[in-house]
Point group: C2
């Protein structure tokens, strides 16, 4: 071991510092557990305070003494374990996924190649193939784990572009201007993908959505016709199963029919909604998803797996070999297994399959079904509270466990409603320990709830609406109107 380094800099592979490391690991595990086991007593979203120890020191420090500044960072973090944390699609993680992630970090294997992760590079494709089958993608299907949904969409659309425009080797120069069609409600990562792929930010044609936030098939066909008239080449359509703000699901069957007749790649961004495949009661909402060429599905959301755990599924995994693969000559070939870094956007990658595998083994399909169905139950309860209040408006009928609403009090001029809802959001957090997010949607401020937390109860929801009632009494005064 290198002199002048702390004795506990690394875990000695011959066990010489095991006792010392053991107390550090346990102190850290205790600190983590104490914090998470009292998460309900910390605010769902803390105030910003200065961060500790912002500069890199010259000399080594004492790791045990660093646990105090670490604690300060913990208490300044987003707190999704709080039953009132309902602002975003960010859940508290399952115990199994946390443990799986701890082991993956300790193993420090690399998903770049089979040689660098002999177990996990086999576990991942097995797991992905099984999940692709659950979506009904068929025998040649499979997928990749990627570090976040934006990468899943980017990888899917890269393969789509390379295959449909045959541009793996030569690129886009000389092509008819290619475009992607997606709902005006699609996630911004679609536009980001188009920009990265060389189509420009204007390479995504926004298709109008209806009152329920769902892409309008007729509008899609009109857009396709307009593209063709403008001399563009539409090569892919993205349907969304679970839009970011309202959780709406585009009509997959109708979109697929148009995709087929216009020779488009059919990608379904089910980053959020893909989890419904685990619920026998709710999976009907994804009807048509089995017809997708590719699907984005993120277990880091409604499957409660620690971040990141996102995936992109393909109807035919040979497409990645033929229309994406970049070989790495510094890697050994292993006959039966693919070096995943050669067919993925990422090379070096964390072993996310381990936590997904452990979480699925622990909760089983039935456990996830129960979680999903419970959050539908909470959603119905929340919708009831909103329906009972004339000043509250739903953005649309929830298709999932997202409830997007706003307060439109007659005591205020309409021009003040955005300001009023911003005020309400802040007050709910301060006085009620409930964090709703405050998205822009169709040009207005809305309050958004994502009912993921299994410790959120109907009683909590009742209390929040009581608070909304109380705050609403003094609406004009509070805003100084």
């Amino acid at each position: 071991m290198v002199l002048s380094l702390p004795e506990n800099a690394f875990i000695d592979p011959s066990g010489h510092n095991q006792a010392q490391i053991s107390s550090l690991l346990k102190a850290t595990a205790d600190q983590i557990l104490d914090y998470l086991s009292s998460a309900a007593t910390h605010p769902p979203l803390p105030e910003l305070d200065p961060l500790p120890l912002a500069t890199i020191p010259d000399q080594p420090g004492d790791l045990a003494e660093l646990l105090a500044p670490l604690q300060r960072i913990m208490t300044q973090s987003m707190n999704p374990a709080h039953p009132g944390y309902i602002g975003h699609m960010d859940p508290l993680p399952t115990t199994a996924s946390l443990l799986g992630d701890w082991v993956a970090a300790a193993l420090n294997n690399n998903m770049l190649s089979v040689e660098m992760s002999p177990a996990l590079s086999r576990l991942e494709p097995q797991l992905m193939a099984e999940i692709a089958q659950m979506f009904g993608l068929g025998e040649r299907s499979g997928g990749l784990l990627v570090s976040g949904g934006s990468l899943a969409n980017l990888q899917a659309l890269t393969v789509a572009r390379n295959l449909k425009l045959n541009c793996l080797d030569q690129g886009l120069i000389g092509q008819v201007p290619p475009v992607i069609l997606a709902s005006e409600m699609a996630h911004t990562s679609i536009q980001k993908a188009a920009m990265v792929l060389g189509l420009g930010r204007q390479g995504v044609i926004p298709v109008a959505a209806d009152a329920q936030g769902q892409m309008h098939p007729e509008a899609l066909e009109n857009c396709l016709q307009a593209c063709l008239r403008a001399g563009q080449r539409p090569f892919a359509v993205v349907a969304t199963a679970g839009t970011t703000v309202t959780g709406s699901i585009d009509p997959l069957l109708a979109i697929h029919r148009l995709a087929r007749s216009y020779n488009l790649w059919f990608h379904v961004d089910a980053a959020y909604g893909g989890a419904l495949i685990f619920s026998p009661d709710q999976s009907y909402r994804l009807e048509g998803i089995h017809l997708a060429d590719s699907i984005t599905f993120n277990p880091q959301k409604w499957l409660y797996v620690t971040k990141t755990c996102a995936s992109v599924l393909f109807r035919d995994m040979t497409w990645l070999q033929d229309h994406f693969r970049i070989s790495a000559p510094y890697m050994n070939d292993l006959a039966d297994w693919t070096n995943l870094g050669e067919i993925a956007l990422q090379g070096t990658r964390h072993g996310d399959s381990l936590k997904l595998w452990l979480a699925l083994q622990h909760l089983g399909k039935a456990g996830y079904a129960a979680l999903i169905e419970t959050s539908y139950d909470l959603t119905r309860s929340m919708v009831d509270y909103i329906d009972q209040r004339s000043h509250l408006t739903l953005a649309c009928t929830p298709a999932m466990n997202l409830v997007c609403f706003r307060s439109c009090p007659r005591a205020l001029p309409e021009s003040q409603w955005d300001r009023w809802n911003s005020h309400l959001q802040k007050e709910l957090l301060k006085a009620g320990q409930v964090f709703l997010s405050l998205p822009w949607w169709r040009g207005q401020r809305w309050l958004k709830a994502v009912l993921l937390n299994p410790y959120t109860t109907k009683e909590h929801i009742g209390q929040w609406f009581e608070l909304i009632d109380t705050l609403s009494v003094s609406v004009g005064t509070d805003l100084g109107v």
Copy 2:
């Protein structure tokens, strides 16, 4: 809590299952530590065995009972903690980075936005700005953590393309064919980036390297002239500081001079070699890196931080605002801090800054300098053993802690040398518990060592060469020649 779920499915935020979870966390921590503390007794790279529990169960299971199959996955994994694991740029992680990663997983914050990671979204830019300053990139510089070096290169080249070709909105259609120049020894992720960016796999022009594996400035200028004659638009040159197979460093100053006179973006892929900035003795090797427009630098390699921890640094962070940014209207704006998901390839992202911060706090700059200088010492020792043996040839003089060599025994015809080195690699692993990788380089098989492990000693190296001597005695017989 949802009925029909195991009681320990989540950590109860009100503490009702704390005792139960505590024993699980401790059992897992013990299992991890027992494994890593005996890593020297497991092979550096295990044989492939069938994986346990490959399918997703219908019903929930017992998490404590899942620790046994988890153990089987651990023992089938790459074992970089073994002092004989010297095959790839994949280190054992520092204790602090491991603990930081455990905390980050438990917090499950999201680097997409400040609201989703109020502490870590501020910690990351602070840390990145300080590291960018260490590289001498100046006052407007900073960077992003990304999930792996391929993404770092992709992000840098996306910004380069958008800025140099002014194609953020309109894309590439109608442009003169753009190309990137990089050494023939550059990492395959450069080619992958070109493909994703719409330049095609042929969008990278390989520049010849000299005998030391360094890009030839004269060859670069010839390539640039040839591109212009061919009607192409070279817009970026990639220099490598630490090539994958030999750890060579391209001549940064000379490449920068050409980049400036041809109006090219100057990217330095210092994924591996960037760590030298921490060593007062060795940082001279990076001379000229302060002139880069962007740098890839991966603490997951020579800074021993758990995967993934990669970064891309920019001379001017406003470039990301002006030539990359995609806004997310569902996020709150916070005046002083940027939502990192808007200026990065990734949206949702794991909080990698925490482990980097903790690792740097623990070891300090001096600790990393000691680690780097120690591995140079091991490198000199290994080179001595090679020089003493007439049948062993170095690919080139190591510029870092990579030693790439092969055995060229006169007893065998040259046509058998690839086979012989493959044989040697296997036997060294089997009989000597040392894992060297076996890359292709200039059309031949080589043995590659990366001397990262701080528990590797000169005694180990001596034993390996004794074994090479023993194996070489019977060279003809063993190969059946």
